[in-house]
């Protein structure tokens, strides 16, 4: 599968394990960390949105964007990236509107990860 094709998948466990140098235990540990931490990060993002702090929204969604990139969860990353851009252009109404989609995409990844890797 090409990098681009893999990018489009919700989550590809074989590709993820390959990117962890074939170390299943490391891959599982990182996935567990991601699932615990990403919920906390989304809560922080919501707090920043409540405070109308565009720069903080941009930075927090960038962090989520980076975590999604590491997991190669491209659809989830795209939504985080759109929120990051909304923060950058100081349009938090768009950012707020994208939060349910971000949470939906996370739910899909979480289900996929628990079924295939954890």
């Amino acid at each position: 599968m090409s990098f681009e094709a893999r990018d489009r998948a919700v989550f590809d466990p074989d590709d993820f394990i390959e990117r962890m140098m074939g170390d299943l235990a490391l891959a599982q540990s990182i996935a567990e960390t991601f699932l615990i931490d990403i919920h906390r990060q989304i809560d922080v993002l919501k707090e920043k949105l409540d405070k109308d702090d565009s720069r903080a929204v941009e930075l927090q969604s960038h962090c989520i964007n980076g975590a999604a990139a590491i997991m190669a969860a491209e659809k989830f990353r795209e939504v985080a990236s759109a929120i990051e851009k909304a923060g950058r252009i100081d349009n938090l109404r768009i950012a707020v509107a994208l939060i349910p989609e971000l949470e939906r995409e996370l739910a899909v990844i979480e289900k996929e990860m628990r079924q295939t890797l954890l």
């Binding site: 931490d37 980076g66 975590a67 590491i70 990236s81």
Partner: protein, 212 residues
């Protein structure tokens, strides 16, 4: 290789730490630019830094500028971490002083290759620095005898820069790396030890007769 990872996202930090440890690197991972700056200021700080670009507080660009402002003989090698397609960050990062970049997601082979490139540069800098130190040490040891040397026309003592008159052999030993061994030339032998000079002359004449 000792490596410092600066990354605010826990999953990415843990991933980099895990992969670099697996590659045999001694890795230190911190979550903020401020923590990184504290570590970098230590005398034994790691010289290879993997630096996330966009972070709250002291971000990658400002940390990179601060690191580059350190006057250090053995400079740091900075690899910036960015999310893919962020060309603007990459250009800005390289212009600010980053040496290389890695975009997320990355494959371990790419991470390893870029770390190895950094390691080669650091090792080359170490070799150059050591050569420069060796060269400076050599220069410090070389004493050059130059300029006008006042010497007494009769006793042949030499006057030094403190206006003291020294025997010429003492002067040479003090001001050069040469070591003097004392001997007697044939003319002085004739003047000071005529008996020995006569004996030497006779022995040489006998040796010449035997060889003829």
């Amino acid at each position: 290789m000792r490596i410092l990872v600066v990354e605010d996202d826990l999953s990415t930090r843990k991933t980099l730490f895990g992969l670099l440890q697996k590659c045999g690197h001694d890795t230190n991972a911190v979550a903020s630019g401020e923590e990184a700056w504290e570590l970098i200021r230590q005398p034994d700080a790691p010289r290879l830094i993997l630096l996330d670009w966009l972070m709250p507080g002291l971000d990658g660009i400002h940390l990179c500028k601060k690191v580059r402002s350190i006057d250090k003989e053995d400079p740091y090698y900075i690899i910036m971490l960015t999310v893919k397609d962020n060309k603007k960050d990459i250009v800005e990062g390289l212009n600010t002083g980053a040496d290389d970049y890695i975009t997320k997601p990355f494959y371990p082979e790419e991470l390893r290759a870029r770390i190895n490139a950094g390691q080669r540069i650091i090792e080359m800098q170490n070799r150059l620095r050591n050569r420069a130190i060796d060269l400076q040490d050599s220069l410090d040891h070389i004493k050059i005898l130059q300029g006008i040397l006042p010497i007494c026309s009769f006793c042949k003592k030499v006057r030094d820069d403190k206006n003291y008159w020294q025997q010429v052999d003492d002067y040479i030993e003090t001001h050069t790396e040469a070591q003097i061994t004392h001997s007697i030339c044939p003319e002085c032998m004739e003047i000071h030890y005529p008996e020995i000079a006569e004996r030497i002359r006779r022995r040489k004449a006998e040796e010449k007769t035997d060889s003829d």
